[in-house]
């Protein structure tokens, strides 16, 4: 789970955070560390509390319990009755709707954080110019936000968030209103910027593809709690719960039964084994939930202990997508496009990379 680097410095530390709205608990007892120079993507369905968590870190919401430490300095502590206002935290934030001020030009939007701190005019000018260069908006400083394209607005918001050289940048679904192509481009740009500036980014999104593309680490949230966190690879390959398996990528969730296999155990499904020599705790005869990615099921005419019938075929260019009916369950299977089966064929399924999930 750790980044495997001994010298990693914790940039933001969230401890046992609780935030309630009247009777609804938006964030429950959540702890999380963010390291310097990493992009942490918090992903989860809408209403899972991820934006609230971000607002608590920013100081826009006051948590009900716990601690938040930014750059070694406590900014919220229930015990010590400490709550630093957002303007005292020096963080950058990009909002979902960018929150660009419509009555200010690009220049004035970016210069605002500097001006509010009474920084000298020359310095303001040179800093804004520096940021305009970074986000490649030089020459558009006199435009108003509505005169810019979506991507440009996004970059203004980014420049404004970065102009004070914050140690932490918070991104609240800022890419969700861009079209798919532009979104991908911005993902690369933000990643590049982050590498150059070496800051920590906490990025909130409900889009798992975006999370995979950008994250050094992903934290999956559900109902105000962290359900799993780790590198994208860990999350994708070893989901620990049914929810994570389904939320990040596609997954087949299979109900298997533990049976004896010599002096070991095997897991059986629909009359055939899925997993032999399984190293699991379950008692003989107990049910376990398994998650298998569609690309980790291979089909063949003769092999495979679990038999099923092809119920649907979808050509996807580089891959084929099959629906295999086993008992009364449809399995999603993805194979390379040169393996061809027709609807109604009886096929055998072999399972690789299986995860037991809760």
């Amino acid at each position: 789970m750790s980044r495997g680097e001994a010298e990693a410095i914790i940039q933001v530390q969230v401890e046992k955070l609780i935030k309630k709205y009247e009777n609804i608990v938006a964030v429950r007892d959540l702890s999380l560390d963010i390291y310097t120079g990493e992009i942490l993507v918090i992903v989860g369905p809408s209403g899972c509390g991820k934006s609230t968590l971000l607002s608590c870190i920013a100081g826009l919401e006051k948590p009900d319990n716990g601690n938040i430490i930014i750059d070694g300095e406590p900014v919220f502590s229930k015990e010590r009755n400490l709550f630093k206002l957002p303007e005292e935290r020096n963080i950058g934030m990009v909002f979902q709707n960018y929150a660009l001020w419509p009555h200010k030009t690009v220049y004035d939007n970016i210069a605002y954080p500097l001006k509010i701190r009474n920084i000298k005019k020359d310095k303001v000018k040179s800093e804004v110019r520096r940021l305009l260069d970074i986000v490649r908006l030089y020459g558009k400083e006199n435009r108003y936000p509505h005169e810019l394209s979506g991507g440009e607005q996004q970059r203004v918001a980014l420049a404004r968030a970065l102009v004070m050289n914050p140690k932490v940048l918070l991104l609240d679904e800022p890419l969700s209103s861009l079209d798919a192509k532009l979104r991908e481009k911005m993902q690369y740009e933000i990643k590049g910027l982050q590498k150059d500036m070496g800051i920590a980014i906490i990025h909130v999104t409900h889009d798992q593809n975006e999370a995979m593309a950008m994250a050094d680490r992903i934290a999956v949230m559900k109902d105000g709690e962290l359900v799993q966190w780790g590198t994208p690879k860990e999350i994708y390959e070893c989901p620990q719960t049914q929810f994570v398996a389904n939320f990040v990528g596609k997954a087949n969730i299979i109900d298997g039964v533990v049976e004896r296999y010599g002096d070991k155990k095997k897991i059986v499904f629909a009359g055939g084994y899925i997993m032999r020599e399984a190293d699991i705790d379950g008692d003989i005869g107990s049910h376990v939930l398994l998650s298998v990615r569609p690309e980790n099921i291979s089909l063949s005419k003769d092999k495979g202990a679990v038999k099923g019938r092809v119920a649907g075929v979808n050509y996807r260019g580089n891959t084929m997508e099959y629906r295999i009916l086993v008992d009364d369950i449809h399995l999603m299977v993805e194979t390379s496009s040169n393996e061809l089966y027709a609807k109604g064929d009886i096929v055998g399924c072999e399972f690789h990379k299986i995860n037991i999930v809760k």
């Binding site: 934030m93 660009l100 419509p102 605002y112 108003y144 936000p145 509505h146």
Partner: protein
């Protein structure tokens, strides 16, 4: 006029009428032209001509009327007073409505629904009734003097309830809801994340509000301020009852008193002058509203984050409650209590209370007739205005007839006219042949029509504009003729606007004073005339109050009905509900 001759004369029209499929539509267009021409354009032209000393029978051109506005001390003072009152009301309502609007839109103040209801109540109570309540509370025989005497034994109460400042306060109590509504609306539209972004950037909450939110709501603030200014200028009832008795005049009361002197050129010049001020303001605010569009870039706006008042919550809530007591409760209570008094001026003891006023009110022949008249005038005018409104809206939203903008502009002209000016124009226009309506109820109805047409266009046009053109096209595609499509699809969808127009017509007729006061003749009295003139040797303020209570109750019911009909922007018709 023969249709063919008409078409031959108007080549441009012919070209466009060609595009219309049925001759029926041409007829409708003609009827509209005649109605708008005779009820709006004709009186307007007469008014302008008279102000330059001209009339249909001739007369010599002169600027005498206008010169006298500046030269004559009376007129000049009235002008100065008008500007003083209007500025005072604009400032006071901005402060009251702005502060209350901010509290409701952006803080966690707890009694928002309650406040909204009271503000709306303030909005619909006719200003004239607030003025009556003012006198009942602050007058020499009023509640305040009695309370002071009872509690402190003060017998030398000498606060004068009549003054320009009283006009300012009463008008502000009546008009601050407009600012409140505009500001809560503007704040609701201003995404609170804009302010959050400023705070994240290092600004304090206060600084963020000043540098981000305030500039963004400023255009609405200014344009509503201008509306308040012109509404104050146009008001007749309040200065007539609160300033005229001590000899202070404003332009509207000056018009009224000059009319009783039959000084027509001055009257018309003053009227045109008043129209120019309020018309200019109207244009200015339209210009501002158009430019107001700082295009908001919004993705998904979240629910605004409410500012926690914390330890100030109690203080602020108390302040708001005191405000409501002063502006809504006391005026309502004053009128209500007075309506149960045997005679205004009696001390507030149980033995002096009675239900008799209400019984008397409904047995009083003239008052019953006045109710009947008001209802009849209001509904008749509202019906005709609705027809014109449907016609004009249809032309401007569903056809591409050239000059449709001009038709709409002329039809909306009365909006810039204070009621008393409409009355003056009507009096001068309909007093002699070819159409002598003076002395009949039709002069009032015709003027009400002019008053209602812009309201009806606003209500109905708004609904029609929002209808997708494809709806009627779908009817055509299903085999309906153009007219059938209109009758089956567009008209039913416009019905809420027409219905609420009827109720509004009824409500305005119930409270409107200057038009009927100037134009009524014996037997044609309206409720407005009664309200203004019932106080006499026979009856005191107690009867005025009784009538006022009935009007308030009917107004509340009417507005609830309008709310039920829904789909009609309150701002549209509501704006005019309280014009009197």
């Amino acid at each position: 006029m023969d249709l063919k001759i008409f078409l031959r004369k108007n080549k441009g029209l012919k070209k466009h009428t060609k595009r219309l499929r049925s001759p029926l539509e041409v007829v409708i267009l003609l009827i509209l032209g005649v109605l708008i021409g005779s009820f709006i354009l004709y009186p307007f032209v007469i008014l302008v001509m008279k102000s330059f000393g001209l009339s249909l029978d001739g007369g010599a051109f002169s600027l005498e009327g206008y010169k006298r506005i500046i030269r004559d001390t009376y007129n000049y003072t009235a002008l100065r007073n008008t500007l003083y009152v209007a500025s005072g009301v604009t400032v006071l309502t901005s402060i009251l409505g702005g502060a209350l609007g901010w509290i409701v839109a952006r803080t966690d103040y707890a009694y928002k629904r309650f406040t909204k209801i009271l503000v709306f109540l303030n909005f619909i109570i006719p200003s004239y009734i607030v003025a009556i309540a003012w006198i009942e509370f602050f007058g020499r025989n009023g509640y305040l003097s009695r309370i002071l005497y009872k509690i402190f034994g003060l017998s030398n109460y000498n606060m004068r309830p009549y003054s320009l400042e009283a006009v300012i306060i009463v008008m502000s109590v009546h008009l601050y809801p407009l600012v409140f509504m505009a500001i809560t609306n503007a704040l609701r539209k201003t995404d609170s994340s804009l302010e959050d972004a400023a705070v994240i950037s290092g600004a304090s909450r206060l600084k963020a509000a000043m540098t981000i939110t305030l500039p963004l709501v400023m255009p609405s603030f200014i344009s509503i301020g201008l509306l308040i200014f012109s509404r104050t200028i146009a008001n007749f009832g309040v200065p007539a009852v609160l300033a005229l008795p001590v000899g202070e005049e404003v332009l509207t009361t000056r018009i009224y008193s000059s009319l009783t002197n039959l000084d027509f050129q001055l009257v018309t010049a003053l009227s045109i002058f008043l129209v120019m001020i309020s018309g200019g303001i109207f244009l200015l605010s339209n210009l501002l509203l158009k430019r107001k569009g700082f295009t908001m870039i919004t993705g998904h706006s979240k629910k605004p984050r409410l500012i926690e008042l914390g330890k100030h919550k109690k203080t602020l809530t108390t302040c708001v409650f005191i405000f409501h007591i002063l502006t809504t409760m006391i005026p309502l209570a004053s009128v209500l209590i007075a309506s149960f008094l045997k005679r205004w001026g009696l001390s507030l003891e149980i033995k002096h209370f009675t239900l008799n006023n209400y019984l008397l009110l409904f047995r009083h022949e003239i008052i019953i007739r006045a109710f009947g008249n008001s209802i009849f005038y209001g509904l008749t005018a509202a019906t005709i205005a609705a027809c014109v409104g449907v016609g004009v809206s249809y032309i401007s939203h569903k056809t591409n007839i050239k000059g449709k903008k001009i038709i709409e502009l002329i039809a909306s002209l009365p909006m810039a006219f204070p009621n008393i000016v409409l009355a003056v124009a009507a009096a001068l226009t309909w007093i002699k042949q070819p159409l002598k309506l003076y002395g009949t109820e039709w002069i009032i109805i015709v003027t009400y029509i002019a008053l209602f047409i812009p309201i009806s266009i606003k209500n109905i046009g708004g609904l029609m504009q929002n209808q997708d053109a494809s709806l009627e096209k779908a009817a055509r595609a299903s085999g309906a003729s153009r007219i059938k499509g209109f009758v089956d699809i567009t008209l039913p969808l416009t019905m809420p606007g027409i219905k609420s127009g009827w109720i509004l017509g009824f409500l305005i007729a119930l409270r409107e004073i200057p038009i009927s006061l100037l134009l009524y003749s014996s037997g044609k009295e309206t409720i407005g005339v009664m309200l203004f003139g019932i106080q006499s040797n026979t009856y005191g303020l107690e009867m005025t109050s009784t009538l006022a209570v009935v009007i308030i109750v009917l107004t509340v019911i009417g507005n609830i009905l309008i709310g039920k009909i829904g789909n009609v922007k309150r701002g549209g018709g509501g704006n005019h509900t309280s014009t009197s």
